[in-house]
Symmetry: none
Subunit: 206 residues, 4 copies
Amino acid sequence: MSTSADRDPARATGDRRPQRADARTNRERILTVAEEVFGAGGRSASTDEVARLAGVGIATVFRHFPTKAALLEAVLVRRFDRLRKQAEALADATDPGAAFFGFFGHLVTDAAGKIAIGEALMDAGGDHSPATTEASTELRQAVGVLLRNAQRAGEVREDTELPEVYALLVATSRTSTHARLDENVRDRMLTIIFDGLAPRQRNASS
Amino acid sequence: MSTSADRDPARATGDRRPQRADARTNRERILTVAEEVFGAGGRSASTDEVARLAGVGIATVFRHFPTKAALLEAVLVRRFDRLRKQAEALADATDPGAAFFGFFGHLVTDAAGKIAIGEALMDAGGDHSPATTEASTELRQAVGVLLRNAQRAGEVREDTELPEVYALLVATSRTSTHARLDENVRDRMLTIIFDGLAPRQRNASS
Amino acid sequence: MSTSADRDPARATGDRRPQRADARTNRERILTVAEEVFGAGGRSASTDEVARLAGVGIATVFRHFPTKAALLEAVLVRRFDRLRKQAEALADATDPGAAFFGFFGHLVTDAAGKIAIGEALMDAGGDHSPATTEASTELRQAVGVLLRNAQRAGEVREDTELPEVYALLVATSRTSTHARLDENVRDRMLTIIFDGLAPRQRNASS
Amino acid sequence: MSTSADRDPARATGDRRPQRADARTNRERILTVAEEVFGAGGRSASTDEVARLAGVGIATVFRHFPTKAALLEAVLVRRFDRLRKQAEALADATDPGAAFFGFFGHLVTDAAGKIAIGEALMDAGGDHSPATTEASTELRQAVGVLLRNAQRAGEVREDTELPEVYALLVATSRTSTHARLDENVRDRMLTIIFDGLAPRQRNASS
DNA sequence: AATGAATGAGAATTCATTCAT
DNA sequence: AATGAATGAATTCTCATTCAT
């Protein structure tokens, strides 16, 4: 399972030796702050802002992440990995339907709340690095597992596949973030999708 | 009804007198190019790019739209107005269900193809001008009419309202644009949503 | 002395034929407006502003004055000529002292009120055209006449000459304009200068 | 050892700009250059010019002074403070008359030589920051002290007050700067003013 | 002759990135 | 390793001036 062992953040810089404790701390702090900053302001937020909020010098940010793109990438990878882990943790759930719909709702409700960076979540023609692409793919696969489990349990219609489900996931979470939907509206939006994902009635309209 | 008659693009500058033919042409060209440029690169695309692709000097762009924000706004308003007109044209359709679902699909399939600017479609905390807000609101209302018509015709479930439907519309069209979804995937995504919007079975199991 | 006959405004463009009446009117209006605009905003005020306030198109301004510098120059020349005429009109006054001090005070009080352009009044290293220099020189000479008359009448000390008097005139009128001096302050400032210009005690009578 | 001599900031030609250790030096150099540049060209001189003459990049200027207005302000404050200190140093002079007239003459002769920025020296309707206003006020007060001292010593007429004296000071120093007055002319101009400021004779005319 | 449109050359300001301590 | 300073390349916007009607 540990498909991501080689993406250990502490090694992203390519450093073979263990990093100094303070460096590691700084790296984490920068990533955390960057997630907030870019989440709020999009990729056009400034690196200076990140440095300032992280309480480090601008040069320190660039020491850890050689370019702004690398920083953005690291943020994305971190986020994807986190979500993937959550999805993987649900892979063996006793109630696959609850697991799938729960994860879907969680992504839209909570998690998405932070990340306007999701701009990149699917981006086909994107300029993403292998690392980002890999993390993204792994997340997608983890969601695929949940989907298939739910389908096997008869909780999700059989005639649907991962691409469209993933697209819906991305679409709703991004919009939820961006448009700051009212809680009730968001729930009703999910209801529609979840109903649409439910197994078809015998007399369903084609 | 046509509350937007006074937003005729040709008059957006507030000029009473008819513009010179060449000026009008330029204005249109700039708007068209801007829709593409900002559609592709988001609001962070440069005004220079717009000028260059439109084949005019940078100052000409600023003559027509005094700030970059004004240009973006004009693009948005134009787009909203166009979509609204299409929606309004369907308000009296003989088949309200086809009208509603057709418009939904159209937006996601065609129209959205150009506009990543949809960033602003719902933006609650946005910094939008009254004109933009108005155009946006009118589009929303036009969609609302289609929705109610379809509900009255029994083609859309009764327990759903405009906000969530509109959110879905925005979500899917933006993602469709951004992620360059495969045609089939997009259709299956729409199928899920449309099924979710279908009237609930009277005897829904469990 | 009609030394300025060849600076007839109507001919400044070099046009041999009589101008159309409306052209002449426009020219005057532009000059008048320009005097205000540049008086208020300095030479950095925009030509567009002048055109707008004059109610003509920008191209019309440039038709009359080929460059902004030419417009500024024309304003200056016009102003200098006007002041010179006023000075010349006082050359034969029955009370040379009153004439001199009156003109001095008038320049500082009224006239200066409009012209921040006076930046150029003396400018030695200035980039002024022959026409401007000529007009400036003539004004200076006219003031020189008033000064000498007043000296001959025993109203102004003999050991002073035009350069310093003119410098004081310029200094006070510019400052009066720029600093928007209180009326009383301005008067007391003039009192100091006028007292300083008064004939020295020993040879007071003579 | 003596390698630091090569990094002497005074060597602008070699472009051997020291970097870290002399941020302060850079700041000073920028201010000094700005005083000259704005002194010569007024506030409309470009920041690029300042950067170029200071031998630094344009961004460095903006790092030290976030806006052009801030730079102008810093220049003004610095200048005001310097003059104020000079005035204050004369507050306890044994010869108050010499102190006052000396300072007046000094301002007009030397110091003013650089600063057309004095545009702002009195500016009532100016858009000056509190810092500038404060520095200006303090300078004015310091001059006020010199004036009162001289009046108490019987060297300056009693019926005059700071506002008009200050106005004269500003007027003459600005004109002296701007018009590049000949030395003799400037001295005779001062003579007139100083005579006007002298205590009135018992049998004064008026 | 008059006009509005068009334009390129700046000008101020920002930002990712590099340098020197 | 960390930092603040420095920097040039954009980017938005302005303005004097020319063009076409």
